[in-house]
């Protein structure tokens, strides 16, 4: 009953979404506020309705209604309660439901705001969000219905359908298959919703951009109205990516965090476009430039958001994430094509209205450096896009499937990332408008000196890899510039107002949150870069089969294999756990427990590394093979990952910087309403 109810709700919300599209369009062209209001109300109904369907699905998951194919495929009796809840997004059908649910929540939030001003934008915001929502709802209804149940046909086959096929009898399995063990990890539990929140939130600025294009507004109102949405989208997308990395590092047991898998790359692409957008809107707000470019960027971000969901969900590209294969690919492809072409056509139609108010005239001005930043982000985006579609293109053109792996991305993106880092150091020192290389040079030499000292010290300490030398010098440069900026600002404030230095610093950041929050985010990025440079350039690995009492050496550490235990665990897995002692010279540092879990119901193995993590390095030990393991000997693979912890420390700093940047500013709000 509950399943039919849930499905019925989805059909109803789909119709409501279609209605709100129609009513909003009619309302706009007839200038009828009643129709627009009807569209708005229909829109507002969708979120509570989908919430009901989601609750129904959650209830069915938790209570083990294995007659439903979705419930059967992602839960089992021995799973704990919280995993049964998170199984909601453990499969394809469920994650599409989550997408729609989050989308409807955001769409409701936007339609709930006071619409006294800018009301002409409202109908088109409704149209864009409702069309997007209707598309995802239609996928749920037509292709990926989480409420479909098992039937046995007259031929004896088991099929999953919403309604009974002729002559079929309903069947109810006694237990489900359970969630893929790889997904039973805190990182994997939060990672998809974070990523989806990021994806979905980017729909809102896009909706306002399209509304501005349709209604012919050429000011930056749409950007100001959606600034916070953009920031939230960007935060969640960033966190989603970082959590995905952490998950890969903890669970996949190959000693790394990012494999340039097509799906990973696909979720990075909207982030790249969104980050470029986040930077270039500042120029439009400050100088009235880049209007067309900003439109293009947000259109691109939206297309990439859908493309990212499509890649994860269609199984077009075989990858680690391929457990979500299905036939919804063509639908996605058509949707991306139609929305992209329509949006770009609208932009071309309004092209002349969106001309810059000021001409850019100096290559060394702040706005020129922002443009450079955007071009570099686009460069990375093109590299990623090429890497993802290259196998398809080469297969279409030559019939030969050719793929490119991580070395391609590292080689092509490395210089671009380096240039972006340099820019993070240079841009804060540049001036708006007119700026020559002389003025910029004068500002640059001070932080350059300590950076040069860092370079020399590193070289003396024995760093001879030139990529590392350049990379770490750039890191130092950005850190010096940023700290210098904080110091300079606080210092001048201290003099002017006679404040204590710390008070001045606090006030400074508080008054210019966006600027100083942005600087903190830059700092967090280079801190992450320390970790990335460390693991990418200096990772070492060794492997050996050890008998009890034997040891293995890596990077000055000695690991001794002490014992091995095997025991069943309550949730139906057999745990094989090795104990190793770690020594540095003769000094005992601690124990490591790499383990190997075998899930008997699904037959899936899972490798959990034993990790000793410090600020200097990670010792990452994997008990590699279960079959060859005996009480006497076991094969191990050991990775030494220098500096990798800074990647995670940088992520935490990123959140802090973001909070500073996005915290509501009272003054700005009042200014915003005065126009």
């Amino acid at each position: 009953m509950l399943a039919q109810f849930g499905f019925g709700v989805f059909v109803l919300t789909f119709l409501l979404a279609l209605f709100s599209v129609g009513a909003a369009v009619v309302g706009y062209f007839d200038k009828s506020d009643r129709w627009v209001e009807a569209a708005r109300r229909a829109m507002l109904l969708i979120f509570p309705l989908i919430t009901l369907a989601v609750l129904a699905l959650a209830y069915l998951l938790v209570t083990g209604h294995y007659e439903l194919q979705y419930v059967y495929s992602v839960t089992s009796n021995d799973m704990p309660f919280y995993l049964k809840i998170t199984a909601l997004w453990g499969g394809q059908a469920g994650s599409l439901v989550l997408w729609s649910w989050l989308m409807s929540a955001f769409a409701s939030a936007v339609t709930l705001r006071k619409w006294e001003r800018d009301r002409e934008l409202l109908p088109w915001v409704i149209v864009v969000t409702s069309v997007t929502l209707a598309f995802f709802l239609s996928l749920t209804i037509l292709f990926e219905n989480p409420f479909a149940r098992w039937w046995q046909t007259t031929g004896g086959d088991f099929v999953a359908h919403m309604f009974a096929p002729a002559g079929a009898i309903p069947v109810t399995p006694a237990d489900g298959q359970g969630l893929n063990p790889l997904l039973r990890h805190p990182g994997m539990i939060i990672h998809p919703p974070m990523l989806y929140l990021g994806f979905v939130a980017f729909v809102i600025p896009y909706a306002f951009a399209i509304a501005a294009l349709v209604t012919g507004r050429s000011d930056d109102r749409w950007i100001r109205l959606t600034r916070r949405w953009t920031l939230v989208a960007w935060l969640f997308l960033s966190l989603g990516l970082v959590l995905g990395m952490r998950w890969a590092y903890d669970v996949l047991g190959w000693g790394g965090y990012w494999a340039w898998d097509p799906v990973e790359t696909a979720s990075l692409m909207p982030w790249l476009a969104g980050t470029a957008f986040l930077h270039s809107v500042m120029i439009q707000e400050k100088r009235g430039m880049f209007k067309q470019w900003n439109m293009l960027l947000i259109i691109l971000t939206y297309a990439l958001v859908i493309f990212g969901t499509f890649l994860t969900r269609s199984g077009v590209f075989s990858s680690v994430h391929a457990f979500a294969q299905s036939a919804i690919g063509p639908m996605f492809f058509a949707f991306i094509g139609i929305t992209f072409v329509t949006s770009v056509a609208l932009l071309i139609y309004r092209w002349k209205d969106l001309r810059a108010e000021v001409e850019m005239n100096s290559l060394f001005s702040r706005e020129a450096l922002f443009l450079l930043n955007n071009l570099l982000f686009m460069g990375v985006l093109i590299v990623c896009f090429w890497g993802v579609i290259f196998p398809l293109i080469s297969e279409l053109v030559t019939g030969q499937k050719v793929t490119v792996g991580p070395p391609f991305y590292l080689r092509a993106n490395g210089p671009l990332f380096g240039a972006l880092m340099a820019l993070m150091g240079i841009a804060p020192l540049s001036a708006w408008g007119k700026s020559t290389y002389k003025t910029l040079g004068r500002a640059l030499w001070k932080p350059s000196i300590p950076s040069a000292i860092v370079l020399v010290v590193l070289a003396i300490l024995g760093v001879h890899n030139w990529i590392a030398l350049v990379g770490f010098t750039l890191v130092a440069f950005v850190i010096f510039v940023t700290l210098f900026e904080f110091w300079r600002g606080a210092r001048s404030r201290q003099k002017k107002r006679n404040e204590n230095f710390l008070v001045a610093l606090w006030q400074l950041a508080g008054r210019n949150r966006r600027r100083y929050g942005g600087y903190l985010i830059h700092l967090s990025m280079v801190v992450m870069a320390i970790g990335i440079l460390g693991i990418e350039l200096y990772q070492t690995t060794t492997q050996k089969t050890l008998a009890v009492g034997e040891d293995i050496q890596i990077a000055g550490y000695t690991l001794r294999f002490d014992s091995l235990a095997q025991f069943p665990y309550t949730d139906g897995r057999i745990v094989t756990r090795a104990a190793l002692s770690v020594f540095r010279g003769a000094k005992f540092l601690g124990d490591l427990y790499p383990r190997y879990d075998y899930y008997t119901t699904s037959g899936q193995p899972m490798t959990i590394a034993g990790v000793r993590s410090t600020l200097a390095d990670d010792l990452y030990v994997v008990l590699v093979n279960w079959e060859d393991v005996s009480a006497a000997q076991a094969p191990f693979k050991v990775y030494h990952n220098p500096l990798v912890n800074w990647l995670w420390i940088g992520s935490l700093m990123f959140i802090f910087g973001f909070l500073v940047a996005a915290w509501p500013e009272r003054e700005e709000e009042t200014r915003e309403w005065k126009i």
Binding site: Y72, S73, V402
Partner: protein, 170 residues
């Protein structure tokens, strides 16, 4: 503060030149990185037909694992096994009755082209008879494939599962 509009060709030219330079740099990076790192994805038959012309190139080969051929020395972590040719494109796999059936036919057919793989490292759990192996590495002069990376898929495990124990009725 509004700056006077300056639409000099000179003012714009430097930006166009700058932009083109960046574009050229990105294209250069992509082309050179693609050339240096492209991995050719091929079947065993395609590899055999090209002979030794591919020696030393970065290759990615897919095939069906022959269970009897697996030899592993846990002490040295030396792993050797053979894979049999399976068709590369999805349509042919569908025609053959799905991946599991295609892999089964490949392993049981003695006339199929086979390739010996050598790998140094732990033996993956999924390395079994009739598993699909995707190996990345290069072909040696001796006709043996030296793999740096093994990726294994067991079709039975990832298949859309159908309930095994069922209770009829509700």
């Amino acid at each position: 503060m509004q700056k006077p509009l300056q639409t000099g060709i000179q003012g714009r030219a430097k930006f166009i030149v700058g932009g083109l330079l960046i574009l050229a740099a990105v294209i250069y990076l992509i082309v050179s990185a693609t050339q240096a790192n492209a991995e050719f994805f091929m079947t065993v038959n395609e590899l055999k037909s090209k002979g030794n012309s591919l020696v030393g190139r970065s290759l990615r080969i897919s095939g069906a694992v022959i269970g009897d051929s697996i030899q592993y020395n846990p002490q040295t972590m030396n792993l050797t096994f053979e894979i049999a040719h399976v068709p590369g494109d999805n349509a042919a796999v569908e025609m053959g009755g799905g991946l599991a059936a295609v892999l089964h036919t490949a392993v049981t057919d003695p006339t199929r082209a086979r390739l010996t793989i050598v790998y140094n490292g732990p033996k993956p759990d999924l390395l079994r008879d009739e598993a699909q192996a995707i190996v990345t590495g290069h072909l040696g002069e001796d006709g043996i494939f030296y793999a740096d990376e093994l990726l294994l898929k067991c079709p039975t495990k990832y298949q859309e599962a159908v309930p095994s124990q069922v209770v009829n009725g509700n």
